[in-house]
């Protein structure tokens, strides 16, 4: 039986040379696959995302940012915020907060932005953006998986 066939696509960003210029507000869904040219295959695998457009302005809250409460909820806190602080006695990822509160990720982000600003909650070292290139981190993960 012959399986159906796919055509390979290529990264939207043009590389080399790095670094890609920060484009102001590039559309989230740019046109399909930039012309591949004859770029070497291997190179396209290294391209990092998340270092480009607008990144500095976005709140540094990722799905896996770990959040810990720093204080009791003040009486003035919204019920959602009190609940959030209550479940974050131990570190909890934003994704888990969203799951337990049953609120969309973006809503949790808004709640958190206030709580972080008021220093009622703390965000642990945010995700390493260059994680993909960090070999010691990858080795630590491999070591942990081996023990599973």
């Amino acid at each position: 039986m012959t399986p159906p066939r796919r055509r390979r696509r290529y990264p939207e960003e043009q590389l080399p040379p790095p670094p890609p210029p920060p484009l102001p507000d590039s559309p989230p869904d740019s046109p399909e696959a930039a012309a591949p040219g004859n770029r070497k295959e291997v190179e396209r695998l290294y391209i990092l995302t998340g270092t480009g457009a607008g990144d500095g302005e976005r709140a540094p809250i990722d799905l896996v940012t770990l959040i810990v409460a720093r204080a009791e909820p003040p009486p003035s806190a919204a019920p959602e915020q009190s609940a959030l602080l209550r479940i974050c006695q131990a570190p909890l990822s934003v994704a888990e907060i969203s799951a337990y509160l049953d609120l969309p990720f973006s809503v949790v982000t808004v709640l958190l932005t206030d709580l972080l600003a008021a220093e009622l909650a703390q965000a642990r070292a945010p995700l390493v953006k260059q994680a993909r290139a960090d070999r010691s981190l990858l080795e630590a993960v491999m070591h942990g998986l081996q023990k599973l």
Partner: protein
């Protein structure tokens, strides 16, 4: 927003608490078509019962509605399962299982950004549902490996036929697995990690 009253919200069970030393978390995204075994794979390696997170997107946001700004925009909620593996006292790995046939996953800011990489779960009975997601990973430069889920009634293609059908670069690993088995799912993740490590090593040399 319809919020449950604050005291009815139950947080994690005590045994699901992360240690206070936990400070860094990384993520891997598991993408695949409908019913291909994403939840099964997340669940088989996760130390917590898989949870669900969701995001709300407007039609305009998913690029279907041309009347941007009109009040006929409708919101779509997309949900995904995730699980967790504590790597060390400081480091935690999260696994997100996302239905890959939905193109708007790629508009969820930060889902793929910052991810270590992705696993494409493949059902050989419906290969073509994975075409778009593979293309999008390529476009976004997200490194990935391909895991073929071992369903009893699925056609078995030799790996090199699959590679050709999927037009995958020769270095991209293709493995088979039974997502119901923890060891098999763990091995898929190890394959991804070894691949990422090789990429990082090659990059360091360049």
């Amino acid at each position: 927003m319809d919020f449950k009253s604050s005291d009815t919200v139950t947080g994690p069970l005590p045994e699901d608490h992360l240690p206070h030393t936990a400070e860094t978390a990384v993520k891997i995204v598991i993408v695949g078509g409908f019913g291909v075994g994403k939840t099964t794979m997340v669940g088989s390696v996760s130390e917590i019962k898989p949870l669900t997170t969701e995001e709300t997107m407007t039609q305009a946001g998913i690029g279907v509605d041309d009347n941007y700004g009109s009040d006929t925009k409708t919101a779509t909620t997309v949900a995904m399962d995730f699980g967790r593996i504590s790597i060390t006292e400081q480091l935690v790995l999260y696994l997100f299982g996302t239905p890959g046939q939905e193109r708007f996953w790629f508009l969820w800011n930060g889902l793929f950004e910052g991810a270590l990489g992705a696993v494409v779960l493949l059902d050989t009975r419906r290969l073509e549902v994975s075409f778009d997601v593979i293309g999008r990973l390529e476009e976004k430069g997200v490194p990935f490996v391909v895991a073929v889920n071992d369903f009893p009634d699925a056609p078995r293609h030799p790996v090199e036929d699959l590679r050709q059908a999927l037009d995958l670069a020769p270095e991209i690993p293709i493995v088979t697995c039974d997502a119901r088995r923890r060891a098999a799912s763990r091995d898929v993740l190890m394959t991804l990690l070894r691949f990422l490590h090789a990429l990082a090593t090659a990059k360091a040399r360049a």
